[in-house]
C-alpha cells in the first residue's frame, strides 16, 4: 500500500476529430515523436520533450491537446491510433484504491466549531472586517459534522506535485477519499486535518485548516472524495527556516495512508449559484484552492453546455513553474474564463503582482463591479490585501465608482469575500 506517490505526466496528444492530417507537426517535430498511419497522427509520450515547436504551426489547434495521466499509464501509440475522439480527462485518483470506509458514529453529526478553528477563521476574515453573509444563492453548507474527538478517517487516494521539479516551492494536489462516510463540502469551505503525534508540550497538535480545491461532486464526479492544495512549509513569513507540521505531514502522505479529518467549516466564502452570476477571483499561491474548486464547478457546467456568467481570475505567483494548476488553467477556453497571471520572480522581467494586473484590466474589472451579480473572492497571503484594496480604489476612481461606498455595500450583500493567512 505504501507505494511512492505516482508522478503525473502531462501527456501531449492530438485530437483526432479536429486534426486534418496535414503532416505539419510530424515535419516540425525535432525528435520524431510524432508519427501516423492511414487513420491518425499520434505522439509518443516517451519521445516527446514538450518543446512546443509543433504547437503554433498546427493549423487546426488539434495538437494543443493535453491529458494529465499517471506516468506509468500514458496512452500508448497503439491505443491513440485507434481513437475516433480524444478520451476525457480521467480523475487523477482513478484506478487508485478506494477508502476502507469510515463509519459515522452517533454524536458525531453535530458539533461546535473547535476554538482553534474559530480563531483561524476570525483571523482569515479580519481583512474584510469579520465574517460576511454568503451570496443569496449559495447552497446551504454543512458544518461541524466531525469533531476532534471523533474525526472522520479518510484514505489518501492520490498525492501529486503541482509545481515544477525545479520550483522553489513544493505544492501538492492531495486527494482524500471518504469511502462511505458522509463528508459533504461546498466550494470555498475548509476542512481540518489532525496531524498525528504530540507537540513539544506533549499535547495533540492543533487542527490545521485547508481549503477544499475540488467542487461539491468530488474531485472525481460521483466519487466520495475531495482534493486539497497544500504547500510544504519550510520557512515562516519572515523567511526563517520552519518545519510546518501539518503541511509536511500532508505532503509526505502516500496512497492508502489514513488521515483524521474534522469539519467541514465555512458558511460565508461560498459561491453564488444563480444563472448570470459572475465570479471575480483574486489569489496567490495555494490561495488558488477555493478558486480551483469554483472554477472546476463551473467548468463542468460549461462543458455540459450550461450558460454561465463571467469568470475572471487574477492569479499571482513567483513564476509559472510555481503556480499550481498553471497547465490546466492555460488550457481553459477563453470564452469560459478570463485569466490574468502575474509573476513576481521571472528573471529579466519586471515584477508583476495581482494588483498590477487589476490596474491593467481596470476598465473590465470596473464593469464587473458595477454589475450586482458579480461576486468577489480574494484568497492568499495576508500581504496581498493592501495592494488589492489600493488597486480597487484606483480603478474604481478611474471608472466612475467609489470603492469606499461600494465595498461595504458588497460586503453586506455577501458579494465580497476575503480569506487571507
Amino acid at each position: 500500500m505504501n507505494a511512492a506517490p505516482a508522478t503525473i505526466l502531462r501527456q501531449h496528444l492530438i485530437d483526432p476529430e479536429i486534426c486534418i492530417r496535414c503532416n505539419t507537426c510530424e515535419e516540425t517535430c525535432p525528435v520524431d515523436a510524432i508519427s501516423h498511419d492511414s487513420r491518425n497522427y499520434v505522439i509518443d509520450a516517451a519521445k516527446c520533450k514538450l518543446c512546443y515547436n509543433c504547437i503554433s504551426p498546427c493549423p487546426t489547434g488539434a495538437i494543443d491537446s493535453w491529458r494529465n495521466m499517471p506516468a506509468d499509464r500514458a496512452y500508448p501509440i497503439a491505443e491513440q491510433l485507434l481513437w475516433d475522439s480524444l478520451p476525457g480527462q480521467i480523475a487523477l485518483d482513478q484506478g487508485g484504491t478506494t477508502g476502507a470506509g469510515t463509519e459515522v458514529g452517533a454524536g458525531n453529526t453535530a458539533g461546535e466549531t473547535p476554538a482553534d478553528v474559530a480563531q483561524i477563521a476570525a483571523a482569515s476574515t479580519a481583512g474584510q472586517g469579520g465574517t460576511a453573509p454568503p451570496p443569496w444563492s449559495a447552497a446551504h453548507p454543512y458544518v461541524n459534522l466531525y469533531g476532534i474527538h471523533q474525526p472522520a478517517v479518510a484514505t489518501v487516494s492520490g498525492n501529486f506535485r503541482l509545481t515544477a521539479e525545479d520550483a522553489s516551492s513544493d505544492i501538492r494536489h492531495i486527494v482524500l477519499d471518504f469511502g462511505n462516510a458522509s463528508f459533504p463540502v461546498l466550494e470555498g469551505q475548509t476542512i481540518g486535518i489532525l496531524p498525528p503525534g504530540l507537540d513539544a508540550n506533549g499535547k495533540p497538535h492543533h487542527v490545521r485548516l485547508y481549503s477544499v480545491a475540488s467542487p461539491r461532486e468530488g474531485e472525481r464526479p460521483k466519487y466520495n472524495n475531495l482534493s486539497l492544495t497544500v504547500k510544504r512549509v519550510t520557512e515562516d513569513h519572515e523567511g526563517k527556516a520552519a518545519h510546518g507540521i501539518g503541511s509536511n505531514y500532508l505532503c509526505d502522505l502516500k496512497k492508502g495512508d489514513k488521515v483524521n479529518v474534522v469539519g467541514p467549516y465555512g458558511t460565508s466564502f461560498l459561491m453564488p449559484n444563480h444563472p448570470g452570476s459572475h465570479l471575480l477571483m483574486i489569489c496567490t499561491g495555494t490561495g488558488s484552492a477555493p478558486m480551483r474548486a469554483m472554477t472546476e464547478r463551473r467548468r463542468r457546467k460549461f462543458s455540459a453546455g450550461e450558460s454561465l456568467g463571467k469568470q475572471m481570475l487574477f492569479f499571482g505567483a513567483r513564476s509559472s513553474g510555481e503556480l499550481p494548476y498553471f497547465g490546466p488553467l492555460t488550457k481553459l477556453p477563453k470564452e469560459f474564463i478570463d485569466i490574468n497571471f502575474g509573476f513576481s520572480r521571472v528573471p529579466g522581467e519586471p515584477k508583476r503582482y495581482v494588483q498590477d494586473l487589476l490596474r491593467e484590466r481596470g476598465e473590465d474589472v470596473a464593469r464587473l463591479l458595477k454589475d450586482e451579480n458579480t461576486y468577489v473572492y480574494i484568497c492568499g497571503l495576508k500581504g496581498m490585501e493592501k495592494g488589492v484594496e489600493e488597486a480597487f480604489t484606483a480603478l474604481c476612481q478611474a471608472n466612475g465608482l467609489d470603492w469606499n461606498s461600494l465595498r461595504p455595500q458588497m460586503l453586506q450583500q455577501g458579494r465580497y469575500h476575503v480569506e487571507t493567512y
Binding site: E17, I18, I20, R21, C22, N23, T24, E27, T28, S38, R39, Y52, N53, C54, I55, S56, P57, C58, P59, T60, G61, D64, D84, P333, K334, E335
Partner: protein, 474 residues
C-alpha cells in the same frame, strides 16, 4: 533564420546583399500591390483582419497573430533553412550535391515548372475575390482572407525564384503572372481548374479541400527538387498550405454537421424539406464533391506523360515523399499501373513508371483526399444518418488525357453518351443546385453568429473564442 522586417520586402535570404535583385523585386512590389488592389478581395482592403504572419521560419516564429489591413500584410520571401550537404535524391543526377544555381540545360523546364506553380497562386485569389461579400461568419471571412494573403505570399515565393535565378526571362514571367486573369477569355490562367468560378462558399470549401490539396502534392514533389532554392521555398510554403487544407476540411465538415442537425430535427431525408429549412442536402454536397474532385484530377496532368518523365529524370520534380520510397529512385525499368478504356471497360495497364509519374502523384493524392471524406462520413454516422459520401472514380468527368474521350460514371463504369446525358445531373451539380446554394449566401458579420447553413467551428483560431472579432470593419 529570422526575417528582416525593417526592409521594404521582408525576407530571410539576405536580399540586402544583392542590390540588383533587391531593385528588381522592389520594382515588382508596387505592381503586385496594384494587382492586389484590383483583383484581391473585393471591398475589404480597409478591414482589420486577425491574420497570421510569419516573423521567422522556425516553429516559434511563423505563426504571429494580429489584426492587420490586408494591403499592409508583410508579403515577403521566406525559405526553409538550408540542409547541410543536401543531395539530389532521384533521377540521373542522384547522389550529386543539390544545385544552388539553375543548371543551364534545365533552365527552361525549371522555369516552366515554377511559372505553372506560381500562376495558380494569384489565380485562386482572383477566383475568390467576391466571397467576402457573402461570408457565413467573421470567423470564415478571416479564414478566407488568410488563405488569400498566403496565396499572395506563395506568388512572392515563386517570383523570387524567377527574379533571382532566371534573369530577364524570369522578370518577364513575373510580370505575366500579374497580367493573366482567372476566367479571362483572352489571357486566362494556365490551368483549367483555376479558370473555374468559385461562386459560393460550398465551392470555396470544396476548392480549398480538393484543389488546394493538389497544390500541397505539387509542392511536396517540388520540395524534393534537386534545385535547392526551389525545394526550400516549397518546404516553407507547405506549412502555410496546411491552413488551406484545414479551411476546406473543417468548412465542408461544418456544412455537413449543420445539415445532419436539421435532418435530425425534422426526422427526414426529404431533399425538398431539408432545402426548405435553408440547409444544403447531402446529395447536393456529394455532387459538389464529385465536381471538385474530378476537376482536380485533371490538374495532375496526363496519365502518361513524357514531360513528367523528363522532370523526374533530370531531378527537377520528385514524387510525393521521394526520400521515403524504397525503390532505386531511378525507375528506369519499373512500371506503374495506369487506366485506359479498352473494349468498353476501364482496365489497368502497366506503363513505364517514369511516364506514369503524374499518375503516381494522383494516386497518392486520392488516398489523402479519401481519408478526409471518411472523416466527413464520421460526422454523418455520429448523427445516425444512413448516408455515405464517397470520392468518385478517378477517371470520372476527366477533361484532359486519354480518359477524357470516354464517359465514365462516378463508380468507374464506362457509359454511353446517351447514358451520360441522362445521368450527369445526378452526378454533377446542376444549374438548379448551384442556384439553390447561391440563394443561401448572405453576409453574416456579427461576432459569434453563423449563417443558418453552417455549424460553428469546434475551436476558434489561435485559441481565441469563436465569438472573437476576427475581422473589424472600419
Amino acid at each position: 533564420m529570422s526575417i528582416d522586417y525593417s526592409q521594404k520586402i521582408p525576407n530571410n535570404v539576405h536580399l540586402n546583399d544583392n542590390k540588383t535583385l533587391q531593385r528588381a523585386l522592389e520594382h515588382w512590389q508596387p505592381e503586385f500591390i496594384n494587382w492586389w488592389q484590383d483583383m484581391g478581395p473585393d471591398g475589404s482592403q480597409n478591414f482589420d483582419v486577425y491574420l497570421r504572419t510569419a516573423v521567422s521560419v522556425d516553429p516559434s516564429g511563423w505563426a504571429h497573430f494580429d489584426h492587420v489591413k490586408m494591403p499592409d500584410y508583410r508579403w515577403g520571401i521566406f525559405l526553409n533553412p538550408a540542409e547541410e550537404g543536401r543531395k539530389v535524391n532521384f533521377g540521373a543526377h542522384k547522389g550529386e550535391a543539390a544545385w544552388q544555381e539553375v543548371p543551364g540545360e534545365y533552365r527552361s523546364n525549371l522555369r516552366r515548372l515554377i511559372v505553372t506553380q506560381g500562376d495558380t497562386e494569384p489565380a485562386s485569389v482572383e477566383q475568390q475575390r467576391h466571397l467576402g461579400l457573402t461570408c457565413p461568419s467573421l470567423y470564415d471571412m478571416r479564414n478566407l482572407f488568410q488563405v488569400n494573403v498566403e496565396e499572395g505570399r506563395h506568388l512572392w515565393a515563386m517570383v523570387y525564384l524567377l527574379h533571382a535565378y532566371f534573369g530577364r526571362d524570369g522578370r518577364e514571367e513575373a510580370e505575366a503572372l500579374l497580367e493573366r486573369r482567372s476566367g479571362d477569355a483572352d489571357n486566362p490562367r494556365i490551368l483549367g481548374a483555376f479558370n473555374e468560378r468559385t461562386p459560393d462558399w460550398l465551392s470555396f470549401f470544396m476548392f480549398t479541400y480538393f484543389t488546394d490539396r493538389d497544390g500541397k502534392y505539387q509542392l511536396c514533389s517540388l520540395a524534393e527538387s534537386g534545385f535547392d532554392p526551389l525545394a526550400r521555398t516549397c518546404k516553407f510554403m507547405l506549412t502555410e498550405e496546411a491552413h488551406h487544407m484545414f479551411v476546406g476540411e473543417s468548412g465542408v465538415g461544418r456544412v455537413i454537421q449543420r445539415t445532419c442537425d436539421v435532418m435530425n430535427q425534422l426526422k427526414t431525408d426529404d431533399v425538398a424539406k431539408i432545402r426548405a429549412q435553408g440547409v444544403i442536402d447531402l446529395p447536393t454536397i456529394q455532387r459538389y464533391l464529385n465536381f471538385h474532385f474530378s476537376v482536380t484530377m485533371d490538374l495532375f496532368g496526363a496519365d502518361v506523360s513524357s514531360n513528367a518523365a523528363t522532370f523526374y529524370t533530370t531531378g527537377l520534380k520528385g514524387r510525393y515523399e521521394e526520400t521515403k520510397q524504397t525503390d532505386d529512385h531511378l525507375l528506369n525499368d519499373a512500371s506503374y499501373g495506369v487506366l485506359e478504356v479498352n473494349d468498353g471497360k476501364l482496365v489497368t495497364i502497366q506503363a513505364p513508371y517514369l511516364n506514369a509519374i503524374n499518375e503516381k502523384l494522383r494516386d497518392d493524392y486520392v488516398v489523402d483526399a479519401k481519408a478526409g471524406i471518411e472523416r466527413w462520413n464520421k460526422i454523418i454516422q455520429k448523427a445516425g444518418i444512413p448516408f455515405t459520401l464517397s470520392a468518385p472514380h478517378k477517371a470520372f468527368n476527366r477533361k484532359i488525357g486519354p480518359l477524357s474521350a470516354a464517359k465514365i460514371s462516378p463508380t468507374g463504369q464506362v457509359v454511353s453518351e446517351g447514358e451520360w446525358t441522362h445521368q450527369h445531373l445526378h452526378w454533377l451539380p446542376s444549374a438548379e443546385d448551384r442556384a439553390f446554394v447561391a440563394s443561401l449566401m448572405g453576409r453574416v458579420a456579427e461576432p459569434g453568429k453563423f449563417a443558418n447553413w453552417i455549424a460553428p467551428p469546434a475551436r476558434g483560431i489561435n485559441n481565441q473564442p469563436v465569438d472573437f472579432a476576427y475581422v473589424r470593419f472600419n
